[in-house]
């Protein structure tokens, strides 16, 4: 320490502080000084600094300051006001002004003050200004704010380190160092220790300006006492604050739990929610027992649902307490909480004293669980073994929990209702589906064809069985077409009439035939109107029953009846004809054999005789039911045919028809003469009738074999050169009652012929042409032995 140039502005007391560890005997007895100045106002710092610098410069010493720009400006201004030639000094190098932040940057490596750099920069500077040419060994004054910056940045350790670096530098160079910190930077509790550490790094500590202005010792003592009292106060405040902080954190914790629960609720079932709520409330109050009861409005009862700590028997008792007009329910129904601090004491609780004693509680707190509309959904109650009074905070929190529970209950109710509704709907749907299924089954199973028509008579729907019956593969091909179109032309009108009936509100009915895909079917149809909900006819329902087989049977029956009737008629006629015929034949014969008959008369009688024979044959063949009752015999075909031909001699001559007989000789057949005669008669008659004048007829007999089984037999062919038959006629030629000879034909000739032939084991075929050469060929095959049938 340089005693000689001791600046007067540094308080002497400070210099005499021996507690500083920095005091090192320097060469020539100089020791570095490291003082720290705390300041409240910048102004105070500037003042102090200007004194520090001013005195140094004034005394001819060098000065190095590391300052912030604002402080620098203020300082320079102050120095100028003191008429110090700062510019000149700066130029001379006696006054070095560094920017604190810039310099700090240079010194920091990885956010830590680097010793090497420090000694390089600051040390270098110091070497410079303590160089002998610079006013010798005069101890420079140094001011640094870098530590303050570090501290302000929160880098307490760095600041302390930097102070240490300064101290290290102080061992090598000798200077008077001043640091400064603004006091407001040390406002936190944790600053206490670093503060002391910083102070410890300095050789002297200068308190804030307020202390510095005090001069009087007693004043100083008073100030210290006041500060001590303030410290005490602050301590108390700090404690109180801590207390409050604890309370606050408790509160926050509670709210956090509440919040957590309200989020988790979304994943929990109502029952679980209520349990959690009860548990949380129980914990909050440190309750011994808890209970949530749900109110069922229909029964107006409170049913215990979730409990905590109760014995089951108690729950039963509680459950059986009938609802009545009591404070509890009244209060709760009004949305008010009920608190019984001590059951033994509270007069309102008297009726339930047994219960509380049984259950073992003396304090209880009930919170109503209400939904948004203010309906009481249930009650949450907590019980305490000892008398209990909840705090406001607990009550408030309990209310919040109660909301959660209320929501849970409400959603549970809603859920149940929804499920019931769903079940109801499902049941209804099931019933509907079954009913539809039932109807559809009926429609699709019944063989009747069920159709729906719109008011225009177009087909909207046809049931599957109907489609099948009609052979419809793609129903779309028939939908939307006029239903009357489907019917065969003869029945269209009746179909339309039936539809009209339905339109008029009656049931239309008709029978008709349909031809679809070349198949004709017969149907019995009933058409009924279908009314919609406004009692208007919206559609028509047509139900058709297939009667094809019935119709065919009816037709066949009618046909058979006709045949039978014809048969009976024929039989009657035959019977009646035969006798007179017989008589006439006999008498003609007798007349023919009379004595002395004139040739002419004989000839005439002969003709009469022939004609009568023909009548007989006609009677036989056209009345058809003649049966040859003689026994089968060997028939000489040649003779037979000649015989039949002779019957028709007259007619053949009359029409000038040439008959060509190509008869293989010695062909015999074993069978009934009458049958064969009838057959040949029929064919010959037809041939003659068909032939024009001068026509040709060929009758041929040949040996032959059955084309199908090779049996030996005879083929008889009767061919004419008549007009021939059309294909339609040919198709019907052998049908009963079909004739082309309207006035004389009975239509049974060929039918009988075929019957006889087929019954005998033979067959007949027919060829005909209407184009030149026209004519008809009837070809029959007879087995050698005609099958004898009855």
């Amino acid at each position: 320490m340089s005693i000689g140039n001791h600046p007067p502005s540094i308080p002497a007391s400070l210099l005499q502080d021996s507690a500083s560890p920095l005091r090192t005997p320097a060469r020539g007895g100089t020791v570095s000084v490291h003082a720290v100045q705390f300041y409240e106002e910048d102004e105070a710092l500037i003042t102090r600094l200007s004194e520090f610098v001013g005195s140094a410069l004034g005394a001819g010493r060098c000065c190095l300051i590391v300052v912030t720009p604002s402080h620098r400006n203020s300082l320079l201004q102050r120095l100028v006001e003191r008429d110090l030639p700062v510019d000149r000094m700066m130029d001379n190098g006696r006054f070095i002004v560094l920017d604190a932040a810039e310099t700090l940057k240079l010194l920091m490596v990885n956010d830590w003050p680097d010793g090497e750099r420090f000694s390089a920069t600051i040390g270098g500077l110091l070497s410079q200004i303590t160089a002998p040419q610079m006013h010798g060994s005069a101890q420079p004054s140094v001011f640094g704010e870098m530590v303050a910056l570090l501290w302000a940045d929160g880098k307490a350790d760095a600041a302390i380190r930097l102070e240490q670096l300064w101290n290290d530098l102080g061992k090598k160079h000798f200077f008077s160092l001043l640091c400064a910190y603004p006091m407001h930077g040390f406002g936190r509790k944790e600053d206490e220790t670093p503060f002391r550490q910083i102070c410890a790094e300095h050789s002297s500590v200068v308190p804030c300006e307020s202390y510095g202005t005090l001069s009087d010792e007693s004043e100083k003592l008073l100030t210290v006492s006041e500060l001590q009292q303030k410290a005490q106060m602050l301590q108390a405040v700090a404690e109180e604050r801590q207390q409050l902080a604890l309370q606050l954190s408790d509160e926050v914790e509670e709210l956090r739990k509440l919040h957590g629960l309200s989020i988790r609720i979304m994943q929990l079932k109502p029952q679980q929610i209520m349990q959690e709520v009860l548990f949380a409330v129980g914990e909050l109050h440190h309750a011994d027992l808890g209970l949530i009861s749900i109110r069922y409005p229909l029964r107006d009862e409170l049913e215990p649902t979730v409990s905590l700590g109760f014995r089951p028997e108690f729950l039963e008792i509680i459950g059986q307490i009938p609802s009545g007009d009591d404070i509890w329910r009244t209060c709760l129904a009004n949305g008010k909480r009920v608190t019984v601090e001590d059951t033994e004491v509270d007069p309102a609780f008297v009726p339930y004293l047994d219960a509380s004693r049984n259950a073992g509680f003396r304090g209880m707190h009930s919170t109503p669980l209400m939904n948004r509309s203010g309906n009481l959904l249930g009650v949450l109650t907590i019980y305490f073994r000892d008398p209990y009074t909840p705090s406001l905070r607990e009550v408030r929190l309990t209310d919040l929990y109660a909301h959660l529970a209320a929501n849970a209950i409400e959603s549970s109710h809603l859920l149940r209702e929804t499920q019931l509704e769903l079940a109801r709907r499902t049941t209804a749907e099931e019933a509907l589906r079954e009913s539809e299924e039932f109807s559809r089954n009926i429609v699709e199973s019944t063989v009747d064809c069920i159709k729906l028509l719109d008011l225009d008579g177009r087909l909207i729907y046809m049931s599957p069985p109907g489609q099948r019956a009609l052979g419809i593969i793609d129903v779309n091909s028939v939908l939307n077409r006029r239903w009357t179109e489907f019917w065969d032309p003869a029945d269209e009108e009746r179909a339309s009439a039936a539809i009209a009936e339905a339109h008029a509100g009656h049931i239309g009915h008709f029978e008709g035939s349909l031809t679809i895909a070349n198949q004709t079917t017969w149907w019995d149809v009933k058409i009924a109107p279908m009314y919609n909900s406004s009692r208007k006819i919206a559609r028509l329902l047509a139900i058709s029953r297939e009667i094809t087989s019935l119709k065919l049977a009816q037709t066949a029956l009618m046909q058979a009846e006709k045949l039978a009737a014809a048969g009976r008629l024929a039989a009657t006629i035959a019977h009646e004809i035969n006798n007179p015929l017989e008589a006439v034949t006999n008498f003609i014969y007798l007349a023919k054999t009379a004595q002395g008959l004139p040739q002419e008369v004989y000839r005439q009688l002969d003709i009469a005789d022939q004609e009568l024979a023909r009548v007989g044959h006609i009677a036989q063949q056209t009345l058809g039911f003649y049966r040859d009752t003689s026994s089968p015999q060997t028939i000489q075909l040649e003779e037979l045919i000649k015989g039949v031909v002779s019957i028709y001699e007259r007619r053949l001559k009359y029409k000038r028809i040439r008959l060509d007989q190509q008869l293989e000789p010695d062909l015999n057949i074993f069978g009934r003469k009458g049958d064969l005669k009838q057959v040949l008669s029929n064919l010959l008659t037809n041939a003659i009738d068909a032939s024009p004048n001068h026509g040709n007829i060929i009758v041929r007999i040949r040996k032959s074999t059955d084309w199908q089984n090779g049996a030996p037999g005879v083929r008889i062919t009767v061919a004419d050169s008549g007009t021939g038959m059309s294909p339609e006629t040919r198709a019907k030629a052998f049908s009963a009652f079909f004739t082309t000879k309207a006035e004389v034909g009975t239509g049974i000739g060929l039918w009988v012929t075929r019957n006889i032939l087929e019954a005998s084991g033979g067959a007949i075929r027919c060829r005909s042409s209407q184009k030149i050469p026209c004519g008809t060929v009837m070809s029959m095959f007879l087995p050698l032995e005609l099958r004898s049938t009855t």
Binding site: E561, K562, A565, A566, R568, L569, A571, T572, I573, A574, H575, E576, I577, N578, N579, P580, L581, E582, A583, T585, N586, F587, Y589, L590, T593, L612, A613, G616, A619, Q620, F625, Y626, R627, D628, T629, S630, G674, F737, T746, G747, T790
Partner: protein, 158 residues
């Protein structure tokens, strides 16, 4: 025919025809022409038919052709006569009232076993009657009406 009500037609015809039939409408003594019975070597033929005309005319034809034929108008008469003297041939209609031809035939067969019996009829139903008779062991010849006299004569001579 298909448009007529067959049943009605049938009824009308039946009534008309049967109304106009021989019973009660025609009486003819022509049947008695030449009805003398020859004796001895000529074959005896009984001609039985409830139709007078037919019985008489057939008998006359047979007589003219050398048979000793006698006409009967009902079966009883014929049977009575057969008791006295058996005919060689019996020619009879089948469908007759009271006793039909088959019954007559059976009776005659009983009385005169060697008599040849020829039945004739215009009805197909006759066949069934005959079948019935066959079952009972009888067999008769059947000729269809109307039969031409020449056919009858040929049949008889065979």
């Amino acid at each position: 025919m298909t448009d007529l009500n067959i049943q009605d037609f049938e009824q009308i015809i039946k009534r008309y025809i049967t109304g106009a039939s021989r019973r009660g409408s025609t009486t003819s003594s022509a049947s008695r022409v030449g009805g003398k019975v020859s004796a001895g070597y000529e074959r005896k033929v009984f001609v039985v038919d409830d139709e007078l005309l037919i019985a008489d005319s057939v008998a006359e034809i047979l007589i003219r052709n050398g048979y000793a034929a006698k006409a009967f108008y009902d079966a009883d008469e014929a049977i009575e006569c057969a008791r006295t003297e058996c005919p060689d041939v019996l020619v009879s209609d089948v469908l007759m009232p009271e006793i039909n031809g088959v019954q007559l035939a059976i009776a005659i067969r009983a009385l005169c076993p060697s008599t040849r019996i020829i039945l004739f009829s215009g009805q197909a139903a006759t066949v069934d009657i005959l079948k019935e008779a066959e079952k009972q062991g009888y067999s008769f010849e059947l000729l269809p009406k109307p039969i031409h006299p020449t056919d009858l004569l040929r049949s008889l001579s065979s």
